[in-house]
Structures are given as C-alpha cells and as structure tokens.
Symmetry: C2
C-alpha cells in the first residue's frame, strides 16, 4: 500500500467499463461460433502481448482482425471481420460505471480512459453511452506505440495528466493490467467482475472491489 | 532471407514437437470441459506474455496452474491441476519429429530444444518418446528468467551452442515464437500444423512447410 491517495483515476475500457456481451450477437450474425468469443479475446490479447514482449507494435484493431480470421482459417469473410470490429464500438457500459464517474466528478478528481484500443473507438463508446462529459482525456497507446501491460502507456497517461505516476490509479477488470500499472509505478484497483479470481502469478492490486464505485472509494481513501 | 544457411536448429516443444491432444483426456478425467483446452492454452500464453511484457517472470508451470484454476474459479481442485500438469510431461510426439531429428543427426547439425517449459518437463517428454539422443541441449528459459518471445531466451540458446544468433534457426508451430526468434536475430521456420494461417501482424518467417523434415531441409538449404 502507498501512503498517498490517488489524485486521478485511469479507467481501462473493454470489460472494465463496457461489457463484451454484444459480441455474442455479432458472432452469431456473421456465422461464427458464439462459444468462441472468449477464445478469440484471449488470443487477441495473447498476440498483442507477444508483440509487446518481443519489442514490436501493431494497432489493437489489426491484431483483433487477424485473430478473428484465425478462428476459421480461410473462411472468415472481410464483412464478418468488419461487423465484429464495428460491434467493439457499440458495447454497452456496465451499470456501475456512471455512478463511479459521477463520484469522481463530484469530488473534483480527474478521470481518464487508458485502453489498448484506439481513441476513435473509445470516443465512440463514451459518446454512445453518454459518459464522455465525465472523461478528461481519452489516452491512446498509439501515442507511445507500446501496448499495455508494458510500462510506457501507463507513464504516458500520468504525463498527459501532469501528475507523478504514483498519484494516478488504474482501474481494470484484468489482473494483467493492474500488474502492469503497478510495475510502472501507478496504483491499481481491480474490479472483480463475476466470479473472477486473482491469479497468484501477478503481484496483488492496491485495492479490490466488486463494483466500480466501491473501488473508487477505496482508491481515494488511500 | 539471410545469405547463410542455419548451422544449428532449436525446436520449440509444445505443439511443435508434441501434440497437446492428450490434454483432452486429462480435462475429461478431472471433470473440466474438454472444449476449454484451447481457451486454457491461449490464456496461459496470454498471462505468460503479459508478465514478460511488463518485465516480470514466473515459471511456466505456475502460470499454467493458475490459468487452469481460473477456468472454474473456486472449483478446480489441486488434484485436477496436478493431473493436467502431469499430462504435459506425457504428450505424444508428432510423427514428423523423429525423421526431422534424424536428418539433422545424419548431417552433423546440432539440434536443441528451446521451450518456455522447464528442463525437467522437456527431458521427460524426450525420454518417453525416445528422442533424447538426438537433442544436444535442453535449453530452459529459467536460466535467463525471461519467457519467449522476449529476445533473451533465443540469444541464450545461441550462446549455449557457441554460435552467432544468425547461425541458429528456431523451428516452431507458433507464429509469435518465430517472430520472437527473428527479432532476436535468429532465423525462423514455421511448421504449419493443420489449417493454421500466418497472422499478418507478425513479420514473416524465413521458411514455411507443412512438415518438420521439409522445414529442416528449407532452413539448411539457406
């Protein structure tokens, strides 16, 4: 635990703020196996992290498209890829996002987003959900050409806000993201969605809660 | 393409030399959903690469155990984890492995293994399959405490053999592994198992073939 309280909060986007639930409908619409949504997302992250570990960078949407095509080699049409990627811009927010952002707004604490996705996709999600007014900056990994959980995106987010890394807390549903934030010097809060458990291979987060408002409270309490 | 021919060949182990097919039986034996084998392996690699991208290291078997437990949080018994991990030491070799190794032996070209798994697991697999005599070194990432596809394990393998990185070719069924090898200065050959396609986000390999003997021939032809 750090002695100081968080002075700004960065939200991961996919699964943390927005449910991937709509992807099931998109998979069904284009004739992909709905049961493969989790496999696709795991492989998307696998390849994104592999590129990051070996020292290269590609935009997240490109990796998403390629891992989709790998699900059924030679038989996934470009139109199917377009449909699934378009759905990533039309996900529904989890119901606990708005109250958490309102709590930060009321307390004068800046909230930003920090995702491996693009600024364009994130802005579209926030506008559609009516949450854009709560977000001070939509920060993109594209600016540093390194994907999370490498340290650069987290430090870039602190630089955009003009605060020391230790004053910024990342909030995420993914243990790997919390671990990356902590390794880069940020604080980290894990929102435990569903029955998820914390994998012991990652150093633990500073705070854990079942909902985002509780998590924000814990991070601001210091 | 490099001008020179490979003077030594490093084989990846899981899926490249040994089929993961036996894991289905292990999952069934312990009451896990057999359809989740690919999801588990994708998440195992996802978390392994996340740790590598953020700059940390854990033994592969530990990450394997934790991602197994995540498949059904709170309900995967330690005995089930033990059974699955034990199966990773009892996988069957693909039928094209022995002819490829024999071709290298006959040509006086050293063959080694380079895996994210442990020396103990790899040695057990090679002994059980009767392939150990063909392998000059069982190289472990544990020695450098970095997992593939970070550059350190590939360069370590060349150092163990006492050859320049560019004289060593990695052979793997995984595009991320081939990309890591090339990024570290090695040559890379991709064995295209089943109907796999090469994801365009990774720089292409030096050689591609449907079987290991053909791939070895292509890499030795330079």
């Amino acid at each position: 635990m750090e002695p100081s309280r968080a002075r700004a909060v960065a939200f991961d986007v996919n699964e943390t703020m927005f449910s991937l639930g709509a992807l099931k409908g998109a998979f069904a619409d284009v004739g992909l196996d709905v049961a493969q949504v989790p496999l696709w997302f795991a492989r998307l992250l696998r390849d994104a992290f592999a590129l990051t570990a070996l020292g290269e960078y590609r935009p997240f949407a490109e990796i998403a498209a390629e891992t989709l095509r790998d699900l059924d080699p030679g038989r996934v049409e470009n139109a199917a890829v377009e449909t699934v990627l378009a759905t990533m811009r039309r996900l529904d927010p989890h119901p606990d996002v708005e109250p958490a952002l309102r709590r930060l707004s009321d307390g004068g604490i800046p909230a930003i987003t920090l995702t491996n996705g693009s600024v364009e996709t994130t802005s579209a999600l926030l506008e559609r959900a009516g949450l854009a007014a709560h977000i001070a900056h939509v920060v993109s990994v594209d600016a540093v050409r390194r994907l999370k959980p490498a340290p650069e995106p987290y430090r870039h987010a602190a630089a955009v806000l003009g605060v020391p890394a230790g004053d910024l807390a990342l909030v995420a549903a993914h243990p790997w993201d919390c671990a990356g934030a902590r390794h880069a010097g940020l604080r980290a809060g894990w929102v435990r969605r569903g029955d998820a458990r914390w994998p012991r291979v990652f150093p633990p987060p500073d705070a854990t809660a079942a909902t985002l408002p509780e998590l924000v409270d814990a991070l601001l309490a210091g």
